[in-house]
């Protein structure tokens, strides 16, 4: 069984899962794909049920989750970084936050225990979508020349320093940003998963040998599981807020 985490998979599965369906084709399905599909379905289900129901004055259940999520994105992401005119990017930011959150949180759900974002494909795709959006927003709001002038020649810098500043800005704005976004999410998830795997294997090995010795790594495993819940939420938040910062930077060049 390659889907449920009922026993330890071989160590090679840490970086590559075998295909389950449609093997050797372009549409091969493995555990990562299934987790992403589940994340899409959960995100869509939450917001479709919350949006379709007659809104009650006191939100309960799914509606409460959706409303507090939207509220959180509005107050601590959009208003803090873009301002009121950023509200039209709310649907994109909210959907992305919940999609990343759900595909991360499978890391600590018993029986699955695998963060789908520890594979590079989807983080880099999301980061490239973000790259397209903030460049498009910048070009549309400042014009092609204005956007490149403001991002490559930031105002308030002495003329001679442009020799150094412009190449740095060129690389950091147009090349490093999407890669650092993707690598931040991916590497955090890989590192967290490796940490949990290490302590789980250690616990199992010591349990087989001594029973008592397994207590220390097991305590560490429980602690680290709690820490990984924090990391999952935090990485979704950081990805969303950096997207908002980049969009905000394209909208207001002066900052």
């Amino acid at each position: 069984m390659n889907v449920l985490a009922l026993d330890f998979p071989p160590i090679t599965h840490l970086f590559e899962w075998p295909d389950i369906l449609f093997g050797d084709t372009l549409y091969a399905v493995n555990k990562t794909v299934l987790i992403y599909l589940a994340a899409v379905v959960i995100t869509a289900a939450i917001f479709l049920t919350a949006g379709r129901k007659k809104t009650s004055l006191v939100p309960v259940g799914v509606q409460h989750v959706a409303e507090s999520g939207v509220n959180f994105i509005e107050e601590s992401v959009v208003m803090e970084t873009i301002g009121p005119e950023g509200k039209k990017y709310m649907p994109f930011l909210t959907t992305m936050f919940f999609f990343i959150l759900f595909s991360n949180i499978f890391e600590v759900i018993p029986g699955i225990q695998f963060p789908a974002n520890s594979r590079m494909a989807v983080p880099i795709t999301l980061a490239l979508i973000v790259w397209l959006i903030y460049n498009f927003v910048g070009i549309r709001s400042q014009g092609l020349g204005g956007y490149f002038k403001n991002s490559l020649f930031p105002p308030g810098v002495p003329k001679a320093l442009y020799l150094i500043v412009t190449p740095i800005e060129l690389v950091s704005t147009f090349v490093v940003r999407p890669f650092s976004l993707a690598i931040r999410l991916w590497a955090n998830m890989v590192a967290g998963h490796l940490l949990l795997v290490t302590f789980a294997v250690l616990t199992a090995a010591l349990w087989d040998a001594t029973y008592v010795g397994a207590a220390a790594p097991f305590a560490m495993l429980v602690l680290m599981t709690g820490f990984e819940i924090l990391v999952s939420v935090l990485q979704a938040f950081i990805f969303t807020i950096l997207t908002a910062v980049y969009i905000g930077g394209s909208l207001h060049p002066a900052h």
């Binding site: 601590s76 803090e80 807020i241």
Partner: protein, 85 residues
């Protein structure tokens, strides 16, 4: 000196050197971001203690600073994975 090393470093020794390089590389890459994140969080805490009413704004900015600083350590981690045989 390097030429001599490259000539003798074949097979297993090359693998060993790779592993040493990967381990050292990640360790070195973690020093700077460690100090940096400490500075970011320390200053954020002291500003939150001075002005508790601005804690929300400071916290958001602190996470941004942590994210930018942490990227360097994560690049070290990626190099570690790439170098591992």
């Amino acid at each position: 000196m390097l030429n001599v090393l490259a000539e003798t470093a074949t097979g297993e020794m090359l693998e060993g050197l790779k592993a040493i390089g990967a381990g050292l590389g990640y360790g070195l890459a973690a020093i700077g971001p460690g100090i940096g994140i400490g500075t970011v969080v320390g200053n954020a805490i002291s500003s939150m203690a001075r002005q508790p009413e601005s804690a929300g704004m400071v916290r958001t900015t602190m996470f941004l600073g942590i994210a930018f600083t942490e990227a360097l350590a994560l690049i070290g981690f990626v190099v570690f994975i790439l170098l591992m045989p």
